[in-house]
């Protein structure tokens, strides 16, 4: 049996987490190749609809990464993200999916190592959850 390799979508804000991901790259920090980063300007622009779309189409996990609260390039953008994503997680739970398939975290432009840690942890966690059951529920 081959080891399950989850497919993960990550939204990174241009100012902090995308820069943090770049720093992780520049620092050659190694991590599993399952995460696909989509650059957005602010985590607050990540429509929960994207997350639900991805999950309902079978993506195994979705990461939303923003600046630390208090450090948002747009002042309070990440406050909204911090409010919205837990609702998405609860809806996942309510329909019978594991809410851990969606994770919100904060990575600053200087935190290449934290980016690596978040990726390694999340990939590991989603791998443990197994494939997204909705992959088979394609109706």
């Amino acid at each position: 049996m081959t080891e399950f390799k989850p497919t993960i979508l990550a939204f990174c804000c241009n100012w902090c987490s995308y820069a943090g991901a770049d720093l992780a790259g520049v620092s050659r920090l190694q991590m599993p190749p399952n995460v696909h980063v989509v650059r957005v300007m602010c985590s607050a622009s990540v429509k929960p609809e994207y997350v639900m779309k991805a999950i309902s189409q079978g993506i195994d996990g979705v990461l939303v990464l923003g600046c630390h609260v208090g450090d948002c390039h747009y002042m309070t953008g990440n406050h909204r993200t911090a409010k919205r994503m837990p609702v998405v997680q609860k809806i996942l739970k309510d329909i019978g999916l594991n809410e851990k398939r969606v994770r919100l975290d904060w990575v600053s432009a200087a935190e290449g190592e934290k980016f690596q840690k978040v990726i390694v942890d999340f990939v590991d966690e989603v791998a443990k959850l197994g494939p997204n059951p909705l992959k088979e529920v394609r109706f």
Binding site: Y18, A19, D22, G25, P33, H36, V40, G77
Partner: protein, 561 residues
């Protein structure tokens, strides 16, 4: 149907040694809308750019995708190539397969190649939906703010005021000059440091454009390039200033040993900066032993502080010239470059002794009846020798200032793990931060010599002057807009906008949201707040991002076994 060109960069070995570029090119050529897929050894080289330009023209491309490094540094370059070839720069999409792929999956070439393919597919699917845009402009406050009144800050301020720019110079201490106040002479030519300092301070003070704030700290910063609102705390009193650009010149401090080599317990064991003060007094230095790399190039503080070898060479020469003796106990002498190597040779010829030690067997310092003894294992002789001294000078590295953390946080600019500030890109955007309108110079960035500090300060001042002299900054066309047909005027966007850029208006008999584009900063918060699909951000529309998700689903889940 769009005509998309995909260009995959080898980045020398940086990408190509992990990702099979040829395979990605083959894959890209099969993607819908792709007219041509090609690869370049270095897409950002003149040759690479030229081939992209030619390909756009020959193949009549109307969308361009480059898969290479990060858009945070190279996007403007490739956008300008598109423009030169007659393609609107917003029809360009960047795919990051270096920082986000080859560099972080170095040991998994096959998986990295598959991931690179998926990332390219996602980029192409977004590119197909890109639309041309026109950019807006915003005005600039014609004032600069320099944080730090040491050599870097003074030099930058002098340059800015000489260009006729009103400049606020903020210094937390009660006097200008920073570390330079304590230094006797500057390597390699031993110019008098106080003369340089006086000249600079006089130059700044003579200008009516310079506004000096002593005993002042940075308290708050809001705004963006062209229009920063800065709150200063001037001796306990709050003061607000506005600035178009900000230069960080907060410098560094010398590392104070924590008991190493008898520091604090053996009289006569002092730091290099303390020795500078001794030299300033004109006191006879006597027999001096310099110990290099005290607190640097070791676990926990791995970096080389770069300036300490040259400082020791300069001071050792002074000791010898004053009739004393000088021994430099070092791990390697770092004095590369023409003038510095000459300084080293000169010191050597004038009788300065050099003894090499190893990190595993550092020198030991003993107190003697008269003076101090330094016991060193001499690698060349293969034996332990003792050097008598009146003074032992510890060459400690420059370390970041504690308050650099606060400055970094207020300005939202990054620092490395040692607390030094990080530039946007060491080669492509030196002395600039990734945050537009904020610049960096001097030892706050990395331990720098006086000469380097001044060069950087001039560079930072020149760059800070660009938006101020232009009088306007171009607003990237990533602002929001409303699809009035879909808008139900629920007002979620109005509440969510951090810049109060959206209002509900009556339009053709219907209440709809309207975005004021000069106020919009392109964060997209309104997009996610909109319960419908009415609010859109240029370059990040829901269709574009949705297409990326669809593409990932298609290539990762449907087409893989």
């Amino acid at each position: 149907m769009p005509r998309i060109g995909v260009f995959i960069c080898h980045c020398g070995h940086n990408i190509a040694s992990t990702v099979s570029v040829e395979e990605v090119v083959r894959f890209a050529s099969t993607l819908p809308g792709v007219i041509v897929a090609d690869h370049n050894l270095y897409s950002c080289s003149e040759e690479g750019l030229d081939s992209i330009r030619k390909s756009i023209e020959q193949n009549k491309l109307d969308r361009v995708v480059v898969a290479a490094c990060t858009p945070r540094t190279h996007e403007p370059l490739f956008r300008s190539v598109c423009e030169q070839a007659g393609v609107n720069k917003y029809l360009f999409e960047f795919v990051n397969i270096r920082e986000h792929c080859s560099w972080i999956h170095a040991k998994e070439p096959a998986n990295a190649t598959e991931k690179a393919k998926r990332l390219v597919a996602m980029g192409v699917s977004k590119a197909a939906l890109l639309e041309p845009q026109t950019e807006g402009e915003s005005s600039v406050t014609p004032t600069a703010l320099v944080i730090g009144g040491g050599l870097a800050g003074l030099r930058a301020t002098a340059s800015l005021v000489a260009q006729g720019i009103d400049t606020h110079l903020v210094e937390k201490e009660s006097r200008l000059g920073g570390l330079l106040n304590d230094i006797s002479a500057l390597a390699p030519y031993s110019e008098d440091a106080s003369t340089l300092l006086k000249e600079l301070v006089d130059e700044v003070k003579a200008s009516n454009k310079a506004h000096i704030h002593l005993n002042t700290k940075l308290q708050g910063v809001t705004g963006f390039v062209g229009n920063f609102n800065v709150v200063l705390n001037e001796a306990g009193k709050e003061k607000e200033v506005r600035a178009g650009a900000i230069i960080v010149a907060t410098g560094a401090r010398d590392f104070i040993p924590t008991g190493e080599y008898g520091y604090g317990s053996v009289p006569g064991v002092i730091t290099q900066l303390e020795f500078e003060r001794v030299l300033k007094t004109g006191e006879k230095p006597g027999r001096v032993v310099f110990i290099q790399c005290v607190g640097s190039r070791q676990p926990g503080r791995e970096y080389c502080s770069r300036i300490c070898c040259n400082t020791s060479l300069k001071n050792a020469l002074k000791v010898v010239e004053a009739g004393g003796t000088a021994t430099i106990v070092h791990r390697d002498i770092m004095s590369s470059g023409t003038v510095w190597e000459e300084l080293y040779r000169n010191a050597s010829e004038k009788g300065v002794q050099f003894i090499r030690y190893m990190l595993s067997d550092p020198p030991r310092i003993h107190k003697k009846a008269t003076g101090i003894a330094a016991e060193v294992y001499d690698e060349a002789l293969g034996e332990r020798i003792e050097v008598d001294a009146d003074r032992v000078v510890l060459a400690t590295p420059l370390v970041s200032r504690v308050d650099s953390a606060e400055v970094g946080k207020l300005l939202k600019v990054p620092r490395d793990k040692h607390g030094f500030f990080l530039e946007a890109h060491v080669k492509l955007r030196p002395v600039e931060f990734a945050t537009d309108g904020v610049f960096i110079c001097g030892s706050a960035r990395w331990p720098s010599s006086a000469k380097e500090t001044m060069s950087q300060a001039l560079g930072a001042a020149a760059k800070a002057a660009i938006p101020i002299k232009r009088g306007k900054v171009v607003i990237e066309a990533i602002t929001a807009w409303v699809d009035a047909d879909k808008c139900a005027a629920c007002g979620n966007c109005v509440v969510s906008c951090p810049y109060e850029a959206i209002e509900i208006v009556e339009q053709d008999g219907k209440r709809v949201a309207k975005v004021n584009e000069t106020q919009c900063k392109g964060c997209g918060a309104c997009v996610a707040a909109c319960p419908n699909d009415a609010m859109q951000q240029r370059g990040f529309t829901t269709r574009q991002l949705g297409a990326m998700i669809d593409s990932l689903v298609k290539h990762a889940l449907e087409e893989s076994p």
